[in-house]
């Protein structure tokens, strides 16, 4: 977990950057409703800053990470090369030949929503059809045994929840989802599969996710979506973006085949 109280990079000489107190854009006020979000901006490398909003996952911290992500996205500042949201932080990548840590920290400070309540951004509710047939979900029975639930209840609970797309990472288009009912938690496979089909929906510990492309993987597979989660040629390459909400909608085999054909 990230706990920082000061910008470190303890060279013998004082750092120009380290002495920039303005970078500690952290409000000491308590983060009650209406208070500005507490955040710390620390250098992660010579080409990046990490904005840290807290040290434990919570929906409030998630809102702050995503609020800042969307605020920076909206600015379309050419000096920002990449944004990497995480569970409690946002990494801001830039080219140090084009700009400086100080200037990027300034951009962040200006973009920072003034109040927690103003962390508004457009979020879509994306419905993902999933066929939970055994062929696509070879581990569904396994999850049922582990959770001591009938397989139908596993599906009902999995498809009954609304998930938050916290961020994307691991592979292109892979969404980290928050909000799986805790009762469905099942440890990952002891030995990962060498290849998991694109669209596979799995559970690993307290997380659920969708494999966007064929990769090796150790998640317990419970179903598959016929949708393409990642299409590099599309103007919007991924079906979901950080901050979206997502629901799984159970479909039968026939519907899966129909949607698969439509996709091509």
């Amino acid at each position: 977990m990230i706990q920082k109280t000061e910008v470190r990079n303890t060279g013998s000489a004082p750092e120009k950057f380290d002495s920039t107190v303005a970078l500690h854009y952290s409000s000491e006020r308590s983060s009650g409703v209406g208070a500005p979000p507490r955040m710390q901006i620390i250098p992660a490398s010579d080409s990046s800053l990490l904005i840290v909003f807290g040290d434990a996952m919570s929906s409030e911290i998630q809102r702050q990470v995503l609020g800042m992500f969307h605020a920076l996205q909206a600015r379309q500042d050419v000096r920002i090369r990449n944004l990497h949201p995480g569970y409690v932080s946002l990494l801001v990548d830039f080219d140090p030949l084009d700009t400086t840590h100080e200037d990027v920290a300034e951009i962040i400070a200006i973009a920072a929503p003034r109040e927690s309540a103003s962390h508004h951004y457009e979020r879509s509710l994306v419905e993902i059809p999933v066929c939970y047939d055994t062929e696509f979900g070879p581990d569904l029975q396994n999850v049922a045994t582990h959770t001591k639930l009938p397989a139908e209840d596993v599906v009902r609970l999995h498809a009954g929840a609304t998930y938050d797309v916290v961020f994307l990472g691991f592979t292109a288009g892979f969404a980290y989802l928050g909000g799986m009912p805790e009762i469905l938690s099942t440890p990952r496979l002891a030995t990962p599969r060498r290849a998991v089909a694109a669209g596979s929906v799995g559970i690993a510990g307290g997380q659920t996710g969708i494999y966007p492309t064929v990769t090796p993987g150790g998640w317990r597979l419970i179903g598959r979506t016929p949708l393409r989660m990642f299409d590099p040629r599309a103007s919007q390459p991924t079906l979901v973006v950080p901050g979206d909400q997502l629901r799984f909608v159970p479909i039968d085999r026939g519907e899966f085949e129909r949607l698969s054909r439509e996709r091509v």
Partner: protein, 309 residues
Amino acid sequence: MNIGVVKPGLSTTVQDRGRFGYAHLGISPCGAADALSLRIANLLVGNDEYAPVLEMTLLGATLEFEQGAVMALSGARCDCKVGQYRVAQDSAVSIPGGGVLQCGSITSGVRTYLAIQGGLDVPLVMGSASTDLRGGFGGVAGRRLQAGDMLKTGTGGGQSPRRLRTGAVDDRPHPGPIRVTRGVQNDWFSPDEWTGFLAAGYVGSEQSDRAGLRLSGRPVKSSQSKQLLTDGIPLGAVQIPQDGQPIILFVDQQTTGGYPKIANVIAADMHRIGQIRPRDDVRFSEVSLTVAIEALRAQQQWMEAIWQK
């Protein structure tokens, strides 16, 4: 102009500067693992410095040129021939129509770059020609070259080819230890572990690829028992997985990860990561952010100073 792939080599891909602006979708930057050599090869033939080139790994490709072309090789030393004739590296070379360029073993470093005047014409995906091997897109069908592939040259560039000053690339800046700044989770490691990491020598592992240079040597132990909440990974992060063997993440790296990052390779040394061979010695030295950024500026000046007037 067409270029036929007779033999693909070990791992030959199309790369340019890389793909930026999509990390929030989980998309890696990719791009040339040794961007300095990419730029030199392109400038030698009068291309834009970041035009798409071929990146060849450990064993080069054999290519048949349908028509005459001007090309340049830069980066790791590679035994390259056209017929009986050895092809000089680090200078523009003409190859006649019907000529076959045979690139053999790469003997120093790992990656050799082949730039062809006009650049390679592949469709841009999210603004870049770079091959994303893990995502399976960009470059030629999102994969390594295969025998029988047909490459097309583009119409980019058109600046006059340049010549390097004699010996200019032999004294590349800073051949010493890989310079690092402290990583975001540096305080997950005791001062003794940090000193030990900097003092220890590591060797490059065979398991390395464009996503990560794996090192073996003295294991680094975290003093934290907790799990890291997955966060964004800066380019060049040195992460310490459970077995304590450091991994330097680069070009094809994951955009987020859950292992603590003890250090970060400075931008000016990233091109060197792409040239570390299995069993090569790797040492680290700590520099401040100021020194890191000065080194990058100095490298930029070096890039401008290596050319004949």
